[in-house]
Assembly symmetry: C2
Homo-oligomer: 427 residues x 2
């Protein structure tokens, strides 16, 4: 990792730069596939599945037998771990339920705001070497709590047409309605437009490679909502001399192993810590199975030495990290000053992997600085808030003249008339 000591503020923007995230170069290829899926449904989906995933499914839907078989393949230790994580995720997301708000803004004018589930949601779970069953948990548990009626899941099969059993087990445990063996752009297109076997959904969630991300962006322009824009994953560790260098190194590495484009940043005011963390990185790195990926990610990563705690907080809020670990003496005070971050891990015994799997918070979080304006996935991601108002004749007599005045000033006669005609009937 490159080390920068006491960089002047005018250099911060450059030092905090992320890997470029411009997917527009993929748009025309991706749009072509989406258009084909929209026009030709299943047959197009299967064609691309064969081309890109090496498997031509006759049947996209995962059968009950396949799910039962998967459930038998999972060890009881893993089942227990997933169950524990599920309980915590449920507890935290259930606490996010908001009751209907009812407010009489003035006598006879009653306004309500009510949360209603998005009816159909689609979850995308990438394939590849690491089976991301934890993401199934993170995306399906809140959907269930929100009471979404249909929760469909698309994930690419391997070349034998199999979906990893941990994904199927978790999907069945958390109440996913249907699982389809379909990945990539074709899965996003199928959920956005619907095919003969896959229902059109109202919102699509989940991570993916740059093609999947580009597809989500394109369908979100007019067809369907998406969870959030996505970029490479990242962590920032904020640490002072009280931090444990071995823990810090392990956290930096657990982000670095995600992918070669992951970004890892250590911000500290302790020059001694830097040397110790570097030593630990070296030591721990050698033992990792995904060492090569981590080494590459560390090449884009940075250690930043700053002069004060205030500067450390300022830089953090400027960077707006997806994950932020705070290993500082006054960790709670610092945490309270964080205004831009996806999820924050406070103290020496709170590794990022706790939130990735089991603490209860969601691990689908805004990357690429999107934390300045976006929340991570939470219960609200599966709800829309509908407002209602009911005005009594007395209430309209109170508020009507103000509406007439404003509508007239906006030169919208018919808007005014809708009130006038009612007020006249009350005279």
């Amino acid at each position: 990792m490159q080390v920068f000591k006491y960089p002047p503020k005018e250099d911060w923007v450059k030092l905090l730069q992320r890997p470029e995230n411009d997917l527009s170069g993929l748009f025309s290829t991706v749009q072509g596939i989406l258009d084909d899926i929209k026009a030709n449904g299943n047959s197009a989906a299967i064609k691309y599945s064969e081309k890109f995933d090496g498997f031509a499914a006759k049947e996209l839907l995962v059968s009950k037998e396949e799910i039962d078989e998967a459930c038998m393949q999972i060890s009881s230790n893993l089942k227990e771990a997933i169950y524990k994580a599920k309980l915590n995720v449920e507890t935290f997301h259930e606490a996010q339920i908001v009751p209907e708000r009812v407010v009489e803004t003035m006598p006879g004018v009653v306004c309500r705001q009510k949360s209603v589930a998005i009816e159909k949601v689609g979850l995308y779970i990438p394939g590849g070497t690491a089976p991301l069953f934890s993401t199934v948990l993170m995306l399906a548990c809140p959907a269930k709590i929100a009471k979404c009626k249909e929760i469909v899941l698309c994930t690419p099969p391997d070349r034998e047409g199999k979906v990893h059993p941990a994904i199927l087990y978790t999907a069945s445990l958390v109440g996913v309605t249907k699982v389809y063996k379909l990945g990539g752009v074709q899965a996003i297109g199928a959920m956005a437009y619907g095919t003969e076997s896959i229902p059109k959904v109202d919102k699509i969630f989940g991570p993916g490679n740059s093609y999947v991300t580009a597809a989500k962006q394109l369908v979100s322009l007019k067809d369907v909502a998406i969870d959030m824009p996505a970029g490479p994953s990242e962590v920032e560790v904020l640490a002072d001399e009280s931090a444990n260098p071995a823990f810090v190194a392990s956290d930096l590495l657990s982000q670095a192993e995600h992918g070669v484009d992951s970004q890892v940043i250590l911000v500290t005011n302790s020059i001694e810590l830097i040397a110790k963390v570097e030593e630990e990185l070296e030591k721990q790195l050698s033992r990792l199975s995904r060492k090569e990926i981590a080494v590459k990610a560390l090449e884009n990563s940075r250690i930043l030495l700053l002069g004060s705690k205030e500067e450390m907080i300022e830089m953090t809020n400027q960077y707006a990290p997806e994950h932020l670990i705070i290993a500082m003496r006054d960790e709670d005070e610092v945490a309270n000053k964080i205004t831009n971050a996806g999820s924050v891990f406070v103290g020496n015994y709170t590794p990022e992997s706790a939130g990735d799997y089991a603490s209860g918070t969601n691990h689908t979080l805004p990357t690429h600085g999107y934390a300045r304006a976006y929340s991570g996935v939470n219960l609200d991601s599966y709800l829309k808030k509908i407002t209602f108002q009911k005005i009594s004749p007395q209430g309209l007599l109170e508020i009507g003249p103000a509406i007439e005045e404003m509508a007239a000033a906006e030169q919208l006669d018919a808007h005014k008339n809708a009130v006038t005609i009612r007020l006249n009937s009350l005279k």
Copy 2:
């Protein structure tokens, strides 16, 4: 308006079709302007302002003197009306404040969800004949309640370089930080990238023509968040024989006067009501100043006669209207069954214009069926929800083994190691 009597369900999709909302044809023109603004800042912004709005501002920022002058030009009646509306909007949006949630998901594992204001927001208010000062109210009041630090507003000036006084008055009343004389794509670009005089914001809100909408879509792909995708405005009236035909006609017309692409739908089970509403439409139309616009909008609009209340509700949830007026005998029962709508107006004395101006609900709402997945603008639109977790050594002993198990199953060694190294230190 075309009338369809008892259409079979398989025809509903076609009957509920909206005007096409594909802006991709504008993307290359709009992207060119955005790129120019990004590269050349103010000078490019002023160039487009001259080209499209006929005014080359030397100074984009509206001065304190201009605002003071505007405040003197507004009648005290209008000031009073705006003030009343402001109080209601504030009351309803303040009721949406959610306290921080703190949950101990298991002993020693404390998770929190905290709402934090988006720091900088940009509001776009279109120019044109009708000065939309009510939209200033709707977009700035919740920003203020959320405690956004910077609320900037862009609006195109007229050919003399003036902004309508009602817009300036309202902006100053609700605490907009700065108002800039800049409209169209150039305003969206300036707020997305920042220029020498206009700050880069984190999220852009507000309505606009198709160029503005396309610009918002393009900048939202990677640079800045936006409130929601937008299409033409629309209303659905759900009415039975208890509805007042004159009121219904006035509501249909108040939507139709918005624009020639507005859509207006009447869904009823009363054949008698249809004739009476048609008669009223004729009568009221003749008196409207924006008659020509309304006539054109009515051409795309429909009256749908259905056989039962259940079908009326089903069709409504399928259409997912931006505005829904319910004028039925059992209006509350029907309202409770609505699952897809932006804002709902319940009963004969609740015209849409009440919510457009002054009841307290927000008038920036999801059009084009987006109500299936999107909320209208509300307090949350100005907040992001950050999660925090803090795990005690005891807590990590509890949850750690489950994390190790799951990380190992996902083949993410370093994720596992971040826990193992801590657990070992506790042994």
